[in-house]
Symmetry: C2
């Protein structure tokens, strides 16, 4: 769920695509993607929260603090069966209320 919701966004999908080509620091990434740094940061935060990317803070030789991001090598397989296997399917009662983390689907 978290993974799916996170990937269900054009910007974040692009971030993953770009980072798949190698690590980048946020300002660099923002320029490359043509979006504002603030916006990118929000998306990076979500991607990180979902465990799809990870970051390392580094100090460049000229003293600038730079945060490098890279993709986590994830692999998600979606089929009706895999979903049925993960979703708790208690027939009658309300269940989907207030639950939002699944992490495995």
């Amino acid at each position: 769920m978290l993974t799916l919701a996170t990937l269900a966004n054009p910007h974040r999908l692009r971030v993953v695509a770009v980072l798949a080509g190698g690590r980048k620091y946020v300002s660099q990434l923002a320029r490359e993607m043509g979006i504002s740094r603030a916006l990118l940061q929000v998306h990076l935060k979500k991607l990180e929260a979902a465990g799809l990317v990870s970051a390392q803070m580094e100090i460049s030789p000229d003293g600038k603090a730079m945060k490098f991001y890279e993709v986590t090598p994830f692999a998600v397989h979606l089929t009706p069966e895999s979903i049925a296997a993960v979703v708790p399917e208690m027939t009658g009662t309300d269940t989907a209320r207030g639950r939002d983390e699944k992490g495995t689907v």
Copy 2:
């Protein structure tokens, strides 16, 4: 994208899970899941739009019109590479603006 966005919802995930166990008509499904028919219909419509489920309208032996839904046997594989392969990554310009259908990821 469409597929991901559609699956990124607890209700719709549950619908897929339940339908993976066999076809159901909407009122039956609503009861079984403990949600309102109106709500279910909205989600079914989205699932259908994404091609994840399909419907057949049938007339039961006692004359009632019933709409049966069943899952489409889809299979989506998500990895950084598969995403990078699909996402058009024109570096600089604004690209993610206003596009939302992808259909393939």
